[in-house]
C-alpha cells in the first residue's frame, strides 16, 4: 500500500516539476518556440526522464563511492551497465566523428547524416564482427576449457568470491564466461548469419520470381508458403530437427538446423520479397525492360533487386536477430547448438535459473544477464541501423 502511495506521490511531484520546468523555460527564454509550444505531456516526460537520471546517478554514486564494498557489489552490473552505456555513447560519438573526417566523400557524407544511435549500431555490429572473426585470438581461454573453479562470481574481486583470471566469472562447470561470450559471437552470430543469408537467397529469389511471373508460379509458391507459415515456426523447427537427428549428428546436425531454420525463415522473406517485388514490377522501367525482350533473370536481378535492397536489408536485420532467439528457444526445449560450442542462447538457458535468487545473491544471479545482454545489444544495434536505413529510404526529413 505504502509502495503505491509513494509511487503516486512521486508521480505528482514529477508532474509538478514538469509544469515548473515549462513555466521557467518560457520565462527564461522569453517564449522561445520550444517552450512556448511544449505540451504538458512532453514537459512531464522530461521531468520523468530527469528523475530517472537522478536516480541512476544517485545509485551509481552510492555504489561507486559511498556504500561498503560488499553492499555496493549488489550494483555491480548496474555500474557496469552505466560504464558500458557511457563508453558506448562516447565510442559511437568518436566513431562517427572519425567517419566524418576519414574516408571517401561518400562515406563521409554518410557519417554526417548518421544519427548517434545509428553510429552506435554500426559500431556494435563492427565490434561483434571483429570478435566473431578473431575470437580465437581475443578470448583468454578456449571455449571448451574447464577450470577447477566453477561458479566463480564475476567482478574479479577475490574478497567477494571472484577471481582476477576470470573477470566475468566461470559457469557451473568452470568454463570462463568471458571466453565463451567471445566464442559465442562466432558461433551464434555466424550460424544466425548463414541461416539468414540462405533464407534471403531462397526466399528473396522465389519471391521476386513469383512477383514477376505471376500466374501459376505465384499461386503454387504462395500456397506452399501459406502451408509452411500455418505451422508454428518454433514447433515446426523442433519437429524437423528431431527428425534430422535420426539421420545426421555433430556438424551435420548443425548444418541441418541451419537449413531447417533457413527454410522456415525463407517463407517470411518470400512474403516480403513478393510484396516489394509487386510494387516494383508495375513500374514503367520494368515494362520497358520486358518490351525490350529481356530475360527473366535480368529483370529479377538487375532491375528489381537493386530497388528492393532497403526493405530487404531492414528485414535481414530483424530476421537475423530472430534466428538466434529461435536457437535459444530450441536450446530451451532441448535441441539446438551442439555442446561444447559456446552459444549465447544456451548460455542464457543454462544460467537462467540463477536469476530467481537475486534477493540472496545478486551478483551470481545476474550472470545470465551477460549472454542475454549480448543478444539484446546486438538486436538493438541492428535495429538502430535498420531504423535509420528505413528512415533514409522513406524520404521523411524530420
Amino acid at each position: 500500500m505504502s509502495g503505491i502511495m509513494t509511487f503516486i506521490i512521486a508521480l505528482i511531484v514529477i508532474a509538478f516539476a514538469g509544469w515548473v520546468f515549462r513555466f521557467v523555460g518560457q520565462k527564461a527564454t522569453n517564449n522561445a518556440p520550444t517552450f512556448r509550444d511544449m505540451p504538458f505531456a512532453v514537459a512531464f516526460g522530461y521531468a520523468l526522464g530527469v528523475a530517472a537520471l537522478i536516480w541512476a546517478v544517485w545509485t551509481y554514486v552510492q555504489a561507486q563511492f559511498i556504500l561498503p564494498e560488499a553492499e555496493a557489489n549488489k550494483y555491480f552490473f548496474f555500474v557496469v551497465a552505466i560504464h558500458g552505456l557511457l563508453l558506448a555513447g562516447a565510442a559511437a560519438y568518436v566513431f562517427r566523428l572519425l567517419g566524418r573526417i576519414v574516408g571517401t566523400a561518400g562515406s563521409r557524407k554518410l557519417f554526417r547524416q548518421m544519427p548517434l544511435t545509428a553510429a552506435f549500431g554500426v559500431l556494435v555490429i563492427l565490434v561483434y564482427a571483429f570478435m566473431a572473426i578473431f575470437a580465437g585470438a581475443l578470448a583468454p581461454h578456449g571455449q571448451e576449457e574447464v577450470f577447477a573453479q566453477a561458479n566463480v562470481v564475476p567482478g574479479g574481486n577475490p574478497a567477494l568470491g571472484g577471481n582476477p583470471d576470470f573477470p566475468l566469472g566461470t559457469d557451473q562447470i568452470g568454463r570462463d564466461i568471458l571466453s565463451r561470450l567471445i566464442y559465442g559471437a562466432r558461433n551464434t552470430v555466424g550460424i544466425a548469419f548463414v541461416t539468414t543469408l540462405i533464407a534471403f537467397v531462397v526466399g528473396g529469389g522465389l519471391g521476386f520470381l513469383a512477383a514477376t511471373l505471376r500466374g501459376w508460379v505465384d499461386q503454387v509458391l504462395s500456397r506452399a508458403v501459406d502451408v509452411l507459415m500455418a505451422i508454428p515456426a518454433l514447433i515446426f523447427a523442433l519437429l524437423l530437427i528431431t527428425v534430422a537427428k535420426a539421420w545426421v549428428d555433430g556438424t551435420g546436425l548443425t548444418i541441418a538446423m541451419i537449413l531447417i531454420m533457413a527454410l522456415i525463415d525463407s517463407t517470411r522473406v518470400f512474403r516480403l520479397a513478393r510484396a516489394v517485388g509487386m510494387n516494383i514490377v508495375v513500374m514503367d522501367y520494368i515494362e520497358a525492360a520486358k518490351l525490350r525482350g529481356e530475360k527473366l533473370s535480368y529483370i529479377v536481378f538487375r532491375e528489381i533487386l537493386p530497388n528492393a535492397t532497403a526493405p530487404l536489408l531492414a528485414e535481414f536485420g530483424l530476421r537475423f536477430c530472430f534466428v538466434f532467439l529461435t536457437i535459444s528457444s530450441l536450446s530451451f526445449l532441448g535441441v539446438g547448438i551442439q555442446p561444447p560450442l559456446a552459444d549465447w542462447g544456451t548460455m542464457v538457458k543454462d544460467m537462467s535459473s540463477f536469476i530467481n535468487y537475486a534477493a540472496f545473491a545478486p551478483q551470481v544471479s545476474a550472470a545470465p544477464l551477460l549472454a542475454a545482454g549480448a543478444i539484446a545489444l546486438l538486436t538493438v544495434a541492428v535495429n538502430f541501423v535498420v531504423d535509420w536505413m528505413l528512415h533514409r529510404s522513406s524520404g521523411l526529413k524530420d
Binding site: 500456397r223 502451408v227 500455418a230 505451422i231 508454428p232 528457444s329 530451451f332
Partner: protein, 331 residues
C-alpha cells in the same frame, strides 16, 4: 459487400486446402521421427512383444498412408480420433470397459486455457502497443520515442524464458504480488484464474508489444508526408487528432495485419512460456505429445494451430477491407 463474402468464401476454401496439406506435412514429419508411440511410452523397458502388442492395439502396424487416410476419414466426419496416451491398454488386464479418451476431450480444456491466456494477453498488449505506437509517432525522434523503442526492442531481443524469469523475479519473488505458478484448472473462479494468468500474460505482452508498436509507429509515420495530413494540419487540427483521426484510419491495414500475426503467435507459439509458468495450455500438450509420438493429438494440435493462423489472417484481411472505404464502397 458481396465481394467481401466472395473473398471470405474463397479464402476459407483455400484455408481448408492449406489445413489438408498441413496435416500431410505434419503426419509425414511425425512418422519420420525416430521411434513411435509404443517405444516412447515403454521407455526404459521396451520389449519386442510389448511394443508389438501396443502397435497392434493402436493400429500402428499398418502402413502410414493407410493410417493417414483412416485418420482423415475420421476427421472429415468430425472425429479427431482417440488419444494414444490415454488409451487404456485393456488387453493386458483382461476386462475392457471400452472407455477411450478422445482427442477432442483431451484438447478441449487445454485449448480453452490457451485461448484464455491469449485473450488476456491481447487485452493488455494490443491497446498498450497501439497507444505506445501512436505516442511514439506523435513525438517521433524525441527522447520518449527512442526510449520506447529501445525498451521494446530489448524486450523482444531477449529469449522468452529469460523475460519470464525476470518478471517472476520482480513480480513474484522480490515483490510477492503475483503467483509464479499458473496451474489453472477447471472450476477455478474467474478472478483467481485471471490472477494466475497475469504473469504469463505480461511476459507475452513484452514479447509481442514491440512488433505491434513499431508497426503502428511506422505505418503512421509513413502517412505523415501525405497531402491529406498536411491538409488536416492546415485546417488547424490538433496534432493528436491529426494522428488519431487522419493518419490512424489509413494505417489500419498494416497494423491489423501485425496484430493478427501476433495473436496467432499467442495461440501457436507460447510453448516456452507455458513451460516456465506451468500453464496447462495446448503448446505443452503438443510438445508432450510429440515426445511420446501421440500422433492423433499432434495432428489435432497442428490443425488447431494452422486453423487459428488461417482464421486470424482471414479476419485481418476482412477487417482491412472493412476499414478501407475504397474496398468497402467500390465505385
Amino acid at each position: 459487400m458481396n465481394s467481401v463474402l466472395k473473398i471470405i468464401a474463397q479464402r476459407l476454401a483455400l484455408g481448408l486446402l492449406t489445413l489438408f496439406i498441413v496435416s500431410i506435412v505434419i503426419f509425414a514429419a511425425v512418422n519420420l521421427l525416430p521411434g513411435d508411440f509404443a517405444e516412447a511410452i515403454l521407455g526404459q523397458g521396451a520389449t519386442p512383444e510389448a511394443v508389438a502388442a501396443i502397435r497392434t492395439d493402436l493400429g500402428l502396424d499398418q502402413h502410414p498412408v493407410l493410417r493417414y487416410f483412416q485418420w482423415l476419414g475420421g476427421v472429415l466426419q468430425g472425429d479427431l480420433g482417440n488419444s494414444f496416451a490415454q488409451a487404456n491398454f485393456a488387453s493386458f488386464v483382461g476386462d475392457d470397459s471400452g472407455v477411450r479418451t478422445t482427442v477432442a476431450q483431451q484438447i478441449a480444456p487445454r485449448f480453452a486455457n490457451t485461448m484464455f491466456l491469449a485473450g488476456v494477453t491481447a487485452a493488455i498488449a494490443v491497446p498498450f502497443a497501439v497507444t505506445l505506437g501512436i505516442l511514439a509517432a506523435l513525438y517521433r525522434n524525441s527522447v520518449f520515442d527512442r526510449a520506447a523503442n529501445i525498451t521494446t526492442l530489448s524486450s523482444i531481443s531477449s529469449p522468452e524464458f529469460f523475460l519470464a524469469y525476470v518478471l517472476i523475479l520482480f513480480l513474484a519473488v522480490l515483490n510477492p504480488w503475483l503467483p509464479s505458478l499458473s496451474n489453472i484448472y477447471d472450476g477455478m473462479a474467474f478472478s483467481e484464474r485471471l490472477e494466475k494468468t497475469l504473469l504469463p500474460a505480461l511476459t507475452l505482452t513484452l514479447v509481442v508489444t514491440a512488433h505491434m508498436m513499431r508497426m503502428t509507429r511506422a505505418a503512421i509515420i509513413n502517412l505523415l508526408a501525405s497531402p491529406y495530413i498536411e491538409m488536416a494540419r492546415l485546417k488547424g487540427i490538433k496534432p493528436m487528432r491529426v494522428i488519431v483521426k487522419h493518419a490512424l484510419p489509413n494505417a489500419l491495414a498494416p497494423i491489423i495485419n501485425v496484430i493478427a500475426l501476433n495473436l496467432a503467435y499467442l495461440i501457436t507459439g507460447v510453448v516456452v512460456v507455458e513451460v516456465v509458468f506451468v500453464y496447462p495450455g495446448i503448446g505443452q500438450l503438443f510438445v508432450d505429445s510429440v515426445k511420446i509420438r501421440d500422433i492423433p493429438v499432434v495432428q489435432a494440435c497442428c490443425l488447431i494451430f494452422a486453423a487459428a493462423y488461417i482464421l486470424l489472417n482471414l479476419t485481418a484481411d476482412i477487417l482491412s477491407i472493412v476499414s478501407n472505404p475504397r474496398l468497402r464502397h467500390p465505385k
